[in-house]
Assembly symmetry: C2
Homo-oligomer: 230 residues x 2
């Protein structure tokens, strides 16, 4: 298609500009001591339920908030508000991903004070969000047991852009004859050494280890920042 | 973001050019008497299993073939080949959707004779494929019972661009406490009057009615073409 090279060129500029905004956000989060975690997955992998549980459990000891992206509806923000953490919805219209400028804009008129953790739930999409840095410190890609073990091989870019994988809906593993060894092998084939947790929001399986992992990352993050200042 | 209006303009041109190719494809399919069905859904909704079953059952009485799109791997083409129907994989690299030119290119060097049905399985994505006409006669959007009842409201564009909805993995409905009335109401809210089937590839539930629907559409399609020629 003749229009493609021009589209690619413009796309490169958009990505470059996104990187500039993301870098500024990351600097701001670092200065504020806020550890930022983003969640990406296909629609229906259980991001919102997982995030609601995360917010509920963390807010007992930490200052937490969440931004949530969707094409349409405020449904996810309403669901997440049940955690009693501050939550804000970003609606993207027809856009298939969040961009750093949307995060920046959402934060600009939102006074949530000094946060320990900010979570950003991306639009449900296993392709497009991979190209857009949101200034996060940790990107988690979620994959539910019902989606099929081959997904890391079929969507390698997003698994490559993530720092951690989360296998969700483990309570359904038996019903769908889920092969955990196979999905773990496929994740390692695409991104060798990537940390991977298997969890169930329903039964709480695996959540304790995952939350401890987050808390350890926050400690490392704030210690590194303090060391830099000294 | 300042680059956005330029991106939108280029994107409009790409879409316009896609429509030209799609229109030409549709004319060719009509002249050949080939009824073209495309499948869109999020990753892991069961498109490939559903298509394998469809090909296996239809090829007893009809000439059928399939094109299947993925970012990477030939996995789906290998799976679909078990149906013994001709199958060809299109790998899109990092592109989040199929375009009409890819379909045209895939068909250009592929001699499958005169087909009754050609199926096109799109990349797993509930956002991007909605904007790209592939010259198909019928676009089916699949939604599995594990994804959550609110998906039509959260991804309205793709439900609007489809002609029919297919609720898949009905064998798991009880395990996930699926609310069929709610998802049907949400589909109707987004696209009033849209035909919707509930199926299970595993138990074959609903497949007979769906296949009869396809056969009826083919009959109508070829009769309309014959009438035009007389």
């Amino acid at each position: 298609m003749s229009a493609e090279p021009r589209l690619l060129e413009v796309r490169k500029n958009v990505l470059k500009q996104n990187d500039v905004v993301a870098r500024a956000l990351r600097g701001r989060f670092r200065a504020q001591g806020t550890f930022v975690v983003s969640l990406v997955s296909s629609p229906g992998a259980g991001k919102t339920a997982f995030l609601e549980k995360t917010l509920t459990l963390l807010r007992q000891d930490y200052r937490v908030a969440a931004l949530v992206g969707d094409l349409a509806t405020e449904n996810d923000a309403i669901r997440l508000a049940r955690s009693h953490a501050p939550v804000k919805q970003i609606t993207t219209g027809t856009l298939c991903h969040l961009e750093a400028a949307m995060v920046e804009h959402a934060l600009s008129d939102w006074d949530v004070g000094q946060l320990d953790f900010l979570f950003i739930e991306n639009v449900g999409n296993l392709v497009c969000p991979s190209s857009y840095d949101l200034g996060e410190n940790l990107r988690i890609v979620l994959l539910s047991v019902t989606e099929g073990e081959d997904k890391p091989l079929k969507y390698p870019t997003i698994f490559n852009s993530a720092d951690m994988a989360m296998i969700t809906k483990m309570d359904l593993a038996e019903a769908v004859e889920f092969d955990e060894a196979s999905v773990r092998a496929n994740i390692q084939a695409v991104r060798p050494g990537m940390r991977c947790f298997a969890v169930s929001t329903k039964t709480s399986m695996g959540l304790k280890q995952y939350l401890q992992f987050l808390k350890d990352r926050l400690t490392e993050f704030t210690q590194a920042e303090t060391a830099l200042r000294e």
